[in-house]
Symmetry: C2
Subunit: 358 residues, 2 copies
């Protein structure tokens, strides 16, 4: 699978996008946006591709809580009502919700129409937009529904990041940290030093991170082996995210949950695989510095473990599968640390706040 | 794509089913049934595969009107609630609704779990169960949502047909007639003579019909060319079916709508491709003999054409695509007869009742 060949960026990217879209009539192109990208990103897109002003725009509400089958049904219905055909194209302009759900809607409309992705968040650029996964949440369970389907192109324009609130930017940064942790200590050290919001060099770090994801996915498109390394931090992170979605008035963003998951799973890695304590300390400090600390109640642990037991990556009942670290830059898949150690890791995370490592 | 190799039948079929299912734990197998197959077919399955008595059964309501995203959500939720994992198996026991929708639910649950089909209707055995298409209706529009996904096996047991009401059997028979029309005049002549409900030779005719479908699908799995021949009768048939679903208290079955569609499209074939009048007469008589005549009101024609314009096989706005017949046994794809001729064909169908050809 040639994923790298489908990813375009920079000034050249706008030209490639225009020539891709020329393969469709303007009425055959549908643009999917949410309230935010409609305001902040759609005008930029239309400036670069004025022909799209005649295309139909499908607007949905912004937020992870709308990544549902109900919203997908609205997208299908609007495609149908506005005459989308089997040779139409859905252009998804937005964050992970838009690219995951738009990809799913396109891949299942009339047994699959073309789609392309323009991720507008850092998370979308380095992670969600890359790799051919489409997904919906099911009753709050993350990404329980979905399929593998490749877009016709993924277009990375870091200029969209200027429109992003700082909290959203940090959320995507967590995936960049994860990419570095699983494969590249040098890149990790660069990230520690950078200030993503202000550095001029940020764009090259973003492309490096996207490139790590591309490399992993190309070597294992359907997640039978190496792609599982991308799961680092996500077994606990996804469960925390589901928990927070059900319990908090202002739920954790994906990257915020992942950041906490990375600390927990680094702790488990130390116990199970001998990750050096200095590495654990570096990871904990780095994450504590960049992300707000989630106040996890002890009573929440049972619920969070229950969510883990429903994780779609579980292949044997009751056995929670982890991808862990041997050292920064070196990951190991298919680890089953067991419930006791999972609880201890959450306890470790809770106590960081009280200066365990400071 | 080796579809033929995935289809099992006869006594050997039960053995093959058992050995397929042995690859999964009993808790890992989920059986999808509707109210009817729960009563009439599930006991037969459990008798042949007693191990499945411990598997979870998902029951849905019977009928085309439940082939929706709402029902699919219930299936996903029940899979999730009862602990289905990525290596689970959904065994779909029922007619076209169960096999189409069950296939879709499985192919999209956790980005795709295994599924296998046991069609229990004639329509399912010769058509819906074969070819890797999964589908849902969207707001009454037939099969607007779906994707291509191959089951692990398709098991044809004609013994299930004994449980079928005569009207359902006739509905499947319409697809058999279509298979004969598009590819095999000898088989068509056999069908004219047979009494499917009582003949001992019926089983071999059914397998012949399934085999025609397999041959066509294997040569063109994603419907870019020859597979379109299977569309004969369906452009008008699907639109009639959608119309009837919205307007009639007891809507047409798929095969009943198809039967009317075959007559209309044979008429169009005569005008466009010179189908001999004797062939049109044979088709009209045969269908009038086997299927109730649908009392189409002249006022319905506009609605029916509007449904055709939303058909998922349209690839150019406003151009309604047909697969037609040059003669019985010989089909031609990508025909655009235009609205006037479509109206005339419906007029022709309406008048058959009054003895045009008797």
């Amino acid at each position: 699978m040639n994923i790298r060949g489908l990813i375009y960026t920079g000034i050249d990217g706008w030209g490639k996008l225009a020539s891709l879209l020329e393969q469709y009539t303007v009425q055959g192109v549908f643009i999917l946006v949410d309230e935010n990208t409609a305001n902040y990103c759609l005008p930029v897109l239309l400036e670069h591709c004025p022909r799209l002003k005649e295309s139909h725009v499908i607007r949905i509400q912004a937020g992870e809580e709308f990544k549902t089958i109900s919203t997908t049904s609205l997208i299908w219905q609007e495609l149908s009502d506005y005459g989308a055909l089997r040779n139409s194209m859905l252009l998804c302009l937005g964050g992970g919700v838009i690219t995951d759900m738009g990809g799913f809607a396109a891949a299942t409309f009339k047994r699959g129409i073309d789609f392309a992705l323009i991720p507008t968040t850092l998370l979308g650029m380095v992670d969600a937009g890359i790799g051919g996964k489409t997904a919906l949440n099911l009753n709050g369970l993350k990404n329980q529904v979905g399929l593998f389907a490749m877009p016709k192109g993924v277009f990375l324009f870091p200029e969209f990041l200027k429109t992003l609130p700082e909290r959203q930017l940090a959320s995507g940064f967590a995936e960049m940290v994860k990419h570095a942790l699983i494969s590249d200590r040098v890149h990790y050290n660069e990230l520690i030093k950078c200030n993503l919001l202000k550095d001029k060099g940020a764009e090259s770090l973003i492309l490096r991170s996207a490139s790590i994801k591309v490399g992993v996915v190309e070597s294992d498109p359907h997640e039978t082996g190496r792609r599982k390394t991308l799961n680092l931090g996500h077994t606990i992170g996804h469960a925390l995210e589901s928990y927070s979605m059900h319990h908090d008035s202002e739920p954790l963003l994906h990257g915020e949950a992942l950041a906490a998951g990375l600390v927990c799973e680094a702790f488990i890695s130390m116990r199970v695989l001998g990750l050096p304590e200095s590495d654990l300390q570096s990871i904990s400090n780095f994450i504590t510095w960049h992300f707000p600390h989630y106040r996890l109640k002890p009573s929440a642990c049972n619920d969070i473990i229950a969510y883990m037991l429903k994780d779609k990556k579980i292949d044997s009942p009751g056995k929670i599968n982890f991808s862990l670290l041997q050292s920064i830059g070196k990951s190991v898949v298919d680890q089953y640390p067991g419930e006791k150690l999972i609880r201890e890791s959450m306890h470790f995370y809770v106590n960081i706040e009280f200066g365990f490592f400071s």
